[in-house]
Amino acid sequence: MSHVDTEAGGSFVRSYLLTGGRTRSDAGDIAIEAMVAATDGSEMPRDIDLAKIYQLCAEPNSIAEISAKCSLPLGVARVLVADLWGAGTLEILETTRSDDIAIVRRLLDGIRKR
């Protein structure tokens, strides 16, 4: 299977500026597997990178997916999402605890059926 390769390339410096030089926001670290979804009734941001994230999140997508699909370095994607979350534009969905036995059972049942 081929890779969807998303090198950040030349957009890096611009992305960096976009986040005002922050690569971590006050939001603290959001897990890279945390899924993000557009908040009901929210407006699309005007900024082109933010708008792209917002549109992608019409369906829940993880921070890692946002990073790959929007060609943004992981840290930048995380900060932009945190900012949109702070503005109420995106919601961050729950991640499982690493000791959640019920979730592990559900994963096992689901994957065994494949």
Binding site: F12, R24, I30, A64, E65, G86, T95, S98, L107
Partner: protein, 229 residues
């Protein structure tokens, strides 16, 4: 434009880690189990960038690009499993923290011709009490060792499963994932029955954690409070 929908799915997400030495089949494994074409994401600088001036930023950019591959399995409407391969270039740096924080468990892939390449990954997961299993990838011409000899060579606890796999075959790779999840379940059940301490203990100061479950929950509630209040 606004997105409106009353029954928008709100899946919970979990992750497991695929690790091991260079060229051991991590990317192949991720593609074999993933329902989407594997994605690749890069981290450049991220945490290291803070406080660095612009000139240095550009220099460091060229020196530290770390890529990781990941895939996705939608288990049911409300549950998604992400499968993250650890980056080859980054030797247990910041991306390892991102990948392993909150992970349910890990598969360490091993090429029996180059056993030593997985030592570091094993140490890492052992030191953080992350449940893991060993997958022996069947490389052509590789000697067929008895798993118990491998256990001895890797100095592994008897409770760590050692299985043969083939990262190129979806069926075998998915079966390996099932074995990993079974092992995670056993480890959690054992810990719960002992009413043991938290599953991920605080790592030593050589590898400071970026996030723990508790920190994440605290940060989330602080922010939620800030937004509503």
């Amino acid at each position: 434009m606004a997105f409106e929908s009353d029954n928008k799915p709100r899946p919970v997400s979990a992750k497991v880690v695929i690790s091991g030495g260079f060229g051991v089949g991590k990317t192949t494994f991720v593609s074999a189990v993933s329902e989407i074409a594997p994605l690749r994401t890069e981290a450049k600088m991220t945490s290291a960038a803070a406080g660095v001036d612009d000139n240095q930023l550009v220099q460091t950019k060229t020196s530290t690009t770390v890529a990781m591959d990941f895939g996705k399995i939608t288990v049911d409407e409300g549950l998604v499993l992400y499968v993250f391969g650890t980056p080859g270039q980054d030797r247990f740096g910041f991306m390892w923290n991102d990948i392993t924080a909150g992970a349910l468990g890990a598969l360490v892939l091993v090429d029996t011709r180059r056993l030593d390449e997985c030592f570091n990954a094993i140490d890492f997961f052992e030191s953080r009490d992350v449940p893991f299993i060993i997958g022996l990838n069947q490389f052509d011409g590789a000697p067929q060792h008895d798993p118990e000899d491998i256990r001895e060579a890797l100095d592994l606890d008897p409770s760590v499963p050692i299985i043969r796999t083939d990262a190129r075959t979806s069926d075998l790779a998915l079966d390996t994932l099932v074995q990993l999840l079974s092992h995670i379940l056993e480890s959690l059940s054992a810990a719960a029955s002992k009413e043991a301490a938290p599953v991920h203990h605080v790592p030593d100061d050589r590898e400071a954690p970026v996030v723990t479950d508790g920190m994440r929950t605290a940060a989330m509630s602080a922010l939620a409070a800030e937004r509503t209040g």
